[in-house]
Symmetry: C2
Subunit: 194 residues, 2 copies
């Protein structure tokens, strides 16, 4: 099971690292599950995130080969990607290959622009819901959902929602029991103080 | 208000990036608050995290100057740091300078080894509670708390707890209103599926 996390300049840090933590914990703590999680850059090997952090990626997107799952983070970098035809073609190719397409936050804008959310329920960051439907009016917006699993595409709400969606992916792709184990490993018993 | 996030090989990715996302969102969305958040490396400029991600840090720890807040992530890299006298001396110096000392997960083990948790309530990752008290038996363990604010030291539980603690820090250092705004910016309405 190969899981590629797409990286690009202007992606939001936690959109990537929340799911990364969950999915790499799955890979490394439960090696018999046969999961391989890696980052794949759309551009240069080192990406500069929306909040300024620089992350060195694992491989270029052109070299990922066949993958089972794609995760597309959001962030202001997506505003350019929705108009970048090579990226939209890449998304269509990955979806066409049968990969499970997942997104966090405004990553779903890129999916919408590529046309793979057509006539599907989907979500995004609360502030981008109009943008999402503007890109494809056939999308059924789900502003109140933490993530939306529409079968071959799974979209999550803003930033931190990627952590919840990643647990859902572990449950869907393996088992609820494994998702509970990973949740315990990262002590994910959230208690926001405000 | 200068906030330094300490980085080192073997730190857990989400221990760092959860608080980073919260605190940098505060800095960048509310510039009039005068907050400056940066990463500071104990070693080489590029650190390799516990789950394999490489992050390029902002500056060496030797060059951070006076800071108001220090955040020490956890991860298996802390196991060596608890025996590294220069790191322990650094922690004592930072605490002695009056900086608010905060930690995520097993970052508190380094604080315990440095002696700055003596006779204080504190927490850490659930699996490391015995290690924490073993390093300093005068610590009052708080295994059921998401974070423990003991005044000049604030410790958080495992990995994802850093996100909750970071919101607490925004509330403590500015206001509950600001913490609620940042929470909305990262859409932090957690809903674990398992």
């Amino acid at each position: 099971m190969k899981i590629a996390l797409v990286c690009f300049d202007g992606m939001e840090e936690l959109d990537l690292v929340g799911p990364w933590e969950v999915l790499r914990m799955w890979q490394l703590q439960y090696p018999d599950d046969g999961v391989e999680v890696f980052t794949a850059s759309l551009g240069e090997p080192t990406v500069t995130c929306a909040k300024g952090m620089q992350i060195v990626t694992d491989r270029p997107i052109a070299e990922i080969g066949e993958v089972d799952v794609v995760l597309f983070p959001g962030g202001r970098g997506t505003r350019m990607l929705v108009q970048d035809e090579p990226t939209l073609e890449l998304v269509r190719d990955l979806a066409g290959s049968g990969a499970l397409m997942t997104s966090v936050c405004t990553g779903s804008l890129v999916y919408a622009a590529a046309g793979i959310l057509s006539e599907r329920p989907a979500t995004t960051h609360w502030s981008a819901m109009d943008l999402l439907v503007g890109l494809d009016p056939t999308i059924e917006p789900r502003p109140d959902d933490r993530w939306v699993d529409s079968g071959v595409v799974v979209t999550a709400a803003g930033v931190s929602a990627g952590i919840d969606m990643a647990h859902h992916l572990v449950a869907r792709l393996h088992s609820s029991e494994r998702a509970r184990q990973v949740k315990r490993d990262i002590q994910y018993d959230p208690a926001p103080p405000v």
